[in-house]
């Protein structure tokens, strides 16, 4: 299951009326949105959107019924269990030789502001300004200790660039912490605070 699917499913299951809807779906052969709405005292649109959401997730199926004046859908439960299986490691950034051998240094006139920690060998926050004119916004990023030490040792603009691995070594940051360092590198690159050579 990916994050997006898990988030959508979680959102559906977290509704106040979720359990009541499933109560109907489990115990009735099929239900329509209007029946659910009337039974649970919900707005018809709310019931309809909810049932459609569950259908998109594959938990329900729908069949068009041609009774009375207008055709409508009836929803049938397709699954007896809902399993949440989200592999968090799918977003893990594995340090590769390519990533760690990137040569980097601070970009000149990056415009970022660095707040030094009390211990003076680490940076605790980076403030970056994004946007132009009236849409200019300030973004303050709090750094973890390894990130702060890494940034403290980042080569200056126009100084000799060093690889990510070399900067980590100078900063005394273990290689096991490289995913969070690489995350910072990616973020600073995105905001043009550092340059890759």
């Amino acid at each position: 299951m990916d994050f997006r699917t898990a988030a959508k499913l979680g959102s559906l299951l977290s509704k106040d009326y979720a359990e009541d809807v499933f109560d109907l779906l489990v115990n009735y052969r099929a239900v329509s949105a209007s029946e659910v709405a009337a039974r649970l005292d919900l707005h018809i649109k709310t019931a309809q959107d909810y049932l459609e959401g569950l259908t998109e997730m594959g938990i329900l199926s729908k069949e068009e019924v041609f009774e009375k004046k207008r055709p409508y859908f009836r929803y049938v439960l397709e699954q007896e269990r809902i399993a949440f299986d989200l592999d968090l490691m799918q977003v893990k950034r594995a340090p590769s030789a390519d990533n760690l051998s990137l040569r980097i240094r601070e970009r000149e006139n990056a415009g970022a502001r660095f707040l030094v920690g009390r211990s003076a060998d680490t940076i605790t926050h980076v403030t970056i300004w994004t946007g132009e004119g009236r849409e200019r916004a300030e973004r303050k990023i709090k750094l973890t200790a390894p990130q702060g030490k890494f940034l403290y040792h980042l080569p200056f603009p126009k100084a000799e660039a060093l690889t990510v691995a070399e900067v980590m070594r100078k900063a005394g940051v273990e290689e096991a912490l490289s995913p969070e360092v690489l995350d910072l590198v990616q973020l600073l690159d995105k905001y043009s605070v550092l340059e890759k050579l």
């Binding site: 000149e108 990056a110 211990s119 003076a120 060998d121 980042l154 126009k158 100078k170």
Partner: protein
């Protein structure tokens, strides 16, 4: 030998604001309130200045400022007594005391000024830092720069800090983890001395932590004081190495050589 300065000529008037302001107050007091008020205003200003000199002495241990303090107390006292003495037969006594005091203190203070014992050495520091940096190319960043590690004990670093404070090489901030040196230029000392350590982000500083790490930060206004956009990375490295060298000299008992190096630049007292 003509020395090419890397700093812009010192055209700052900030050091003159207080003396000029004081003269203005004295003249206005005289015009609006008469001579007696003028002397009282003069006395008040000398005593306020005396408090400042005493604070500098307490903060740095610089004995030259103690001499200045006594002179300012004396001058203030003479000003305070002047209205009573000038208007009657005791004017000669007052005048003798005034001349004697001014000449005595004057000789001492001129000696202190000529030998630069009451001169803030910030400009010398920045000039020495730039001596070895020929590359240009800007590269300014507000980030501090780690320079390296030193092998000094905590006591040695603190002793060096006291030396720097006493000789007005830098204002010193001591914290449980480190000592921070902040060079101060002449003319900038009036407000500087009252700044909190929390404003260090805006100043040029050199930090020696007690684990041996040395880092530096050069403020943008100090960087812009150089004639050319010197390579910022090299400048920071040079600043750190200068203080490491000074600390080494002090450790070997060669503190006087530090003073000699600064004196060799032959900068004027007021710059």
């Amino acid at each position: 030998m003509f020395q090419t300065r890397k700093l812009k000529p010192d055209r700052s008037i900030s050091g003159w604001i207080i003396p000029i302001g004081s003269i203005l107050i004295i003249v206005l007091s005289m015009l609006f309130f008469g001579y007696a008020a003028m002397f009282i205003a003069l006395a008040g200003m000398f005593w306020v200045a005396a408090l400042y000199s005493l604070y500098i002495f307490a903060r740095t241990g610089n004995s030259g400022h103690l001499v200045v303090f006594f002179f300012q107390v004396f001058a203030g006292l003479m000003g305070f007594l002047a209205p009573d003495y000038i208007s009657d037969q005791r004017f000669q006594e007052w005048r003798f005391a005034w001349i004697f005091g001014v000449v005595s203190y004057g000789v001492l203070i001129v000696f202190l000024a000529v030998t630069k014992r009451i001169k803030w050495r910030g400009r010398e520091i920045f000039e020495l830092v730039a001596e070895l940096v020929e590359e240009t190319g800007n590269g300014y960043t507000p980030r501090p720069r780690p320079v390296g590690r030193v092998d000094f004990s905590k006591q040695e670093i603190l002793a060096f800090a006291r030396f720097c404070a006493r000789h007005l090489i830098a204002v010193v901030y001591v914290s449980p983890r480190q000592v921070t040196f902040v060079p101060v230029k002449m003319g900038g000392e009036y407000t500087f001395m009252f700044r909190r350590a929390s404003l260090l982000q805006e100043m040029t500083w050199i930090s020696f932590d007690f684990d041996g790490d040395v880092s530096v930060h050069i403020a943008q206004k100090d960087y812009l004081d150089y004639v050319e956009p010197l390579a910022f990375d090299k400048l920071c490295e040079s600043l750190g190495q200068l203080f490491i060298e000074f600390a080494g000299m002090h450790q070997r008992g060669e503190g006087v050589r530090i003073i000699d190096r600064m004196d060799a630049l032959r900068m004027g007292y007021f710059s």
